[in-house]
């Protein structure tokens, strides 16, 4: 059996973001994954994971807590706010803009983590 042709991943040359060539030592450390390189990657992954988990925690508490709220405080099931029943106001309307806001916040913070990493690499 012959090996199938493999896909080749091509990434953008990112001409819009030409950077000063990063310090050679950090790049080599990263590429060779020696102790320093591994530590650098670990710290980036940890920062991004921590951010994702924090955002997930907010999601779990705010949205995941709703059924529990309805179960524990039955009055909330029938409450009327602004002329609309609370569950319908939250689940049928407000939740969608909230996702967009949450997504925008995450985007900013995740890109900041990446900038910090890039600066760390470039300075060293």
């Amino acid at each position: 059996m012959t090996e199938p042709p493999r896909r080749v991943a091509v990434t953008s040359p990112r001409t819009s973001a030409v950077r000063r060539p990063p310090g050679r030592s950090a790049v080599r450390a990263l590429q060779e994954q020696d102790r320093v390189g591994e530590l650098l990657v670990r710290s980036l992954v940890r920062a991004q994971l921590l951010l994702a988990l924090k955002m997930l925690a907010v999601l779990v508490v705010l949205l995941g807590g709703l059924p529990l709220l309805f179960a524990v405080l039955p009055a909330t099931r029938d409450a009327v706010v602004l002329g609309v029943r609370l569950p319908w106001l939250l689940l049928g309307g407000l939740v969608y803009p909230a996702f967009v806001v949450g997504g925008a916040v995450y985007l900013r913070l995740a890109e900041r983590n990446e900038r910090d990493f890039a600066e760390l690499v470039e300075r060293s």
Partner: protein, 574 residues
Amino acid sequence: MTWLPVAAVALVVSATVGIGVYGLRLARTTSDFLVASRTVSPLWNASAIGGEYLSAASFLGIAGLVLAYGADALWYPVGFVAGYFVLLLLVAAPLRRSGAYTVPDFAEVRLGSRPLRRLCAGVVVAIGLLYLVPQLHGAGLALRATTGSPVELGAVLVTVVVVVNVAGGGMRSATFVQAFQYWLKLTALAVPAVFLLLAWQGDGRPALAPPTPPAFSAATTVDVDADVRVVLPEPVDAVVDGERRRLEGTVELRRGSEVVFPAGAAVPHVERLTAASGLEWARPLSGAGGTDHPLYATYALVLATFLGTMGLPHVLVRFYTNPDGGAARRTTLYVLVLLGAFYLLPALYGALGRLYAPELLVTGATDAVVLQLPVAALGGTLGALLQALLVAGAFAAFLSTSSGLLVTTAGVLSQDVVGRLRGSVRGFQVATAGTGLLALALALPAARLPLTQVVGLAFAVAASTLCPLLVLGIWWRGLTPPGAAAGLLAGGGLSAAAVAGTLTGAVDGGWPGALLAQPAAWTVPTAFGVMAVVSRLTRDRVPADVGRTMLALHAPEGLGLADRSSRGSTARRT
């Protein structure tokens, strides 16, 4: 006026094929064919993702579930959007940076195992088929509800159009087609909604959640198109096939009969639905419609939709068309905006359906509520025109989701399974035709499947298999090939068994029924657990180059670090 919906379908089909042909002229190489050569901008790409994602279940099914089950069904659209939010947090950028085109590609890049790659391919094909079947079914249902054609016709029509379009144009044309179809679907649902709200206003804003069960506001004729058993909340003097009859208790209605209910009569419900007052219907966790253990069902649904989205094959492929990881994140943010705008609408149709089209509860064909509502609430030429617009939107939904699923499923099949033609354009075309026919063969015998519930099962399978693989693969160095395989088999096996049990109706009601109908709450933790424990037990199998893979997944582009293009392709090329 049955020609109107037919004209609407013809228009959508020819627009789809037309844009496909236009795209085809631009597609010349295998790369063009499969991923649009990655030249798609974030807004285009987000529109295409939205177009592909908003399926029959979203366009028709959610409103039907809201009509039947009330507030608890609102979790479906919330979960469909939340799934993208979770995907943004955990998967979007790293997955794009992995350079993987499909989940099997990712499995090989990350874990370097050929057998695992094939296992993933099998899971992707299974999920793709499970998701395709309700799309084809929805097409049959929509065409029958509006023109009275046999239910098979719509399914065959969609299959043929999609197979020809995908095999002919590949993903390049699919991107244009799907971006167009998002906007068509949004328009098709939003414009009639405005008229329906005006009609409701004009009727003096009758209560949407009255303290009484739904009743017929005028004498109503119900055409029974399949044998059903209905339960009458109170005895009714109805006219069955021209004969006056007193109906009470549980009554069998034969296919083809015509029942006229008098104005003011309480609406009988098909046996599997329980009649609920408007107040119960509007109240979460009330079990309105007859859901057992609503709190468990809600949480299991939340888990399936929140985590299942990232495992849907046609969703992942789209991320490859972003130029880099950052663009993948921005695209996902746009997707949240586009989906949020769309999902404001279906619940409105479901709620107004209780007022204007309660007769759907008699036959249980609640998936048709979106299509019936304009005729029922507005009538006349306006109603017919709006219905035609909705039919067009519904067909856009069937066509776009089916082609997205077909591109991916056939892509995986042609890359990993189809013998000598592997990886070629020809092989992709053969796989496309094969997948389409297989889905059609599965869809035709399946009689009356509630659209959104079948789609919900596909989410549960994805959440129990590909989600743990992606999440642990991206964030945890300790994942090993045997661990991943064991987790896929455990999660996939359990959720597939639950799907089979639900679809065949083997278990009904009570805790067993609730556990099988919404399996994610126990299959997802099992899959994660098995994957983690087996990986720990086989820790000597952690890939030696995991550090570099992690670097490629998480480091931003443009640092001059990566000969990223070689990761997982040339580096592993044998």
